[in-house]
């Protein structure tokens, strides 16, 4: 009586769509995509700006256009989708409890599961910003949805905290909708956003970017009346005497994204404390048999093109799992040290991996003229000189299987500063 499916994909955003397409193309017939929103496409639907798809399609698309290409493929492949459907629980033996208006409460037993739930925004409370809890304080993504999809205007005079790409993009969007964006404050001494967004979203509109600044007070009992900004020291502590009051009716927060792994936790998937996502192997398999992960639920990406690539790999791995139940061999751990914050995957299986593996990583601070170095049990494997490395830009290193000495126990990734070739 329980519904059964070969492959359940949780999430119909860019990751879920690409994973579904890859799995079907690898021969999995019985797939279902479960999406909690009313349409496929995920966050791309509200990302109406251009800049997506350069790597995948060689052209600059807007979010909805990028999503539409994948949705069209899913439709053409006739992959079933449950929309407006929420997965409430995922068990260790891959039983999904789902609910929807249309089909009610049901359980689905899946041969394999791909986690593609994406991420959520860090809320104000997580930053402990002091002040009133008034109307007019939104996370940037919520405001993006209101403006771009609902046609609603949150405010007229705006301060943005956080210079990640969503914050920068929203500075331009609010300006183009007639609002005055008074400042973008960034607690770090550098922006986490793309250079191009700083130029085209801030400089084009003369919006000041205040580095090493944060919001230290929020004024207005009912509706936001203003914020107090202050400069911060190297420990991110506000410096007394640098406070400035800025009247505004809206504060947008773009202060970080967190992978949404509550379902993963309920199934018992081991999570990395650094990425906030599952610990995975080269096949993107999590610690739970038959459960794979890709996209922002695995680690937060900055380019959707890389999400699609990662998801394709997850789809192919899930297909392989369903077809031959790959054996677990010897584990080679990937370790991030000295400047590299993390790697995904966190381990590889030399006996069973493909010809090559793409290792994705982020650095902890900006570097100029440095190199990403890869060591296999202490022996230098690769050295990749980089003119610039930034925490906001994910780095990728591809390792070929035949490069890695047999029996390697540990591969370390680190940053070495100094001359470039």
């Amino acid at each position: 009586m329980m519904r059964e499916v070969q492959l359940a994909i949780i999430g119909g955003g860019p990751a879920g769509l690409a994973a579904a397409i890859a799995a079907r193309e690898s021969g999995v017939q019985d797939i279902v995509i479960i999406e909690r929103d009313r349409e496929l496409g995920g966050i791309l639907n509200q990302c109406i700006h251009a800049g997506f798809g350069l790597h995948t399609f060689g052209e600059e698309l807007t979010g909805p256009e990028y999503a539409a290409r994948f949705i069209a493929q899913v439709r053409a492949l006739e992959i079933p989708c449950l929309l407006d459907t929420m997965v409430l629980d995922l068990s260790e033996d891959r039983v999904l409890t789902v609910t929807s208006r249309k089909e009610g409460l049901q359980q689905i037993k899946a041969g394999a599961v791909i986690l593609a739930m994406g991420c959520r925004e860090r809320p104000r409370g997580a930053l402990n910003i002091p002040g009133f809890r008034c109307a007019g304080v939104w996370s940037a993504g919520t405001a993006q949805r209101l403006v771009n999809m609902e046609g609603m205007m949150p405010g007229r005079e705006v301060v943005i905290l956080g210079s990640g790409d969503i914050g920068l993009i929203m500075a331009r969007r609010m300006t183009m909708e007639g609002a005055k964006v008074k400042a973008v404050a960034e607690v770090l001494p550098y922006s986490g956003g793309l250079k191009r967004n700083i130029v085209q979203c801030l400089e084009d509109f003369d919006i000041p970017l205040l580095l090493s600044h944060t919001v230290v007070d929020i004024h207005g009992k009912k509706r936001l009346e203003g914020v107090t900004l202050a400069q911060v020291d190297e420990n991110r502590a506000p410096i007394a005497g640098t406070e400035q009051y800025i009247p505004c009716d809206t504060l947008l927060l773009s202060v970080g994204l967190l992978p949404e792994n509550e379902l993963s936790s309920s199934a018992g998937v081991s999570l990395s404390p650094i990425t906030g996502g599952p610990v995975v192997g080269d096949d993107l398999a999590t610690s739970i048999d038959g459960v794979f992960a890709c996209g922002n639920v695995l680690h937060v990406h900055d380019l959707v093109d890389f999400v699609s690539q990662e998801a394709k790999q997850a789809g192919e791995s899930a297909a392989r799992y369903l077809q031959q139940h790959t054996q677990i061999g010897q584990r080679t751990e990937l370790r991030a040290v000295n400047g590299v914050r993390y790697t995904v995957p966190q381990h590889i299986d030399l006996a069973h991996m493909g010809e090559e593996v793409t290792v994705r990583m982020r650095v902890g601070q900006p570097y100029r003229r440095a190199a990403i170095c890869v060591y296999a049990d202490g022996t230098l494997l690769r050295r990749l000189p980089k003119l610039v490395l930034a925490p906001g830009e994910m780095e990728r290193v591809t390792l070929r299987r035949d490069q890695i000495p047999a029996g390697t126990k540990e591969i370390t990734f680190c940053i070495e500063e100094g001359e470039t070739k």
């Binding site: 639907n45 109406i48 700006h49 251009a50 600059e60 807007t62 909805p64 256009e65 539409a68 403006v147 771009n148 999809m149 609902e150 046609g151 969007r173 183009m176 909708e177 007639g178 793309l194 250079k195 191009r196 700083i198 130029v199 085209q200 400089e203 084009d204 003119l387 610039v388 930034a390 906001g392 830009e393």
Partner: protein
């Protein structure tokens, strides 16, 4: 002769570029690390262009607004005018992604096109 300081957007490096202009043309670019910096500075100093995206309101649609973009980049100094035109434009559902919303946006000769569709209500 005049100088303009720019931040290159070609890659994350973000080189500080200095462009020297004479009679409206760029005679030299310095500070760049690669060819892209040179190209960017020459274009940006003389005829900067931007792809503009936004929304327009939909009458009788299943959604209140649809997203739009310019078919190609438009002169940078036309961006806010384009925003004002978009703000006072409404289309009628149904509309499909790729449909032309405005044939000639703000006198630029560039079309404004829908980036997603919207069904009639």
């Amino acid at each position: 002769m005049s100088e303009r300081i720019l931040t290159c957007i070609g890659c994350p490096m973000g080189c500080m570029l200095t462009a020297v202009l004479e009679n409206g043309t760029v005679t030299s670019v310095s500070g760049n690390t690669c060819r892209r910096g040179d190209d960017y500075a020459r274009k940006e100093c003389v005829a900067p262009e931007r792809t503009v995206t936004g929304t327009v309101r939909v009458a009788n649609g299943s959604a209140p607004v649809i997203s739009v973009r310019t078919a190609s980049p438009i002169p940078k100094d036309k961006v806010m005018e384009a925003a004002r035109v978009m703000a006072s434009t409404a289309v009628s559902a149904p509309i499909s992604a790729g449909d032309t919303v405005i044939a000639n946006l703000a006198g630029t000769g560039v079309a404004l096109i829908a980036t997603r569709g919207c069904e009639a209500r």
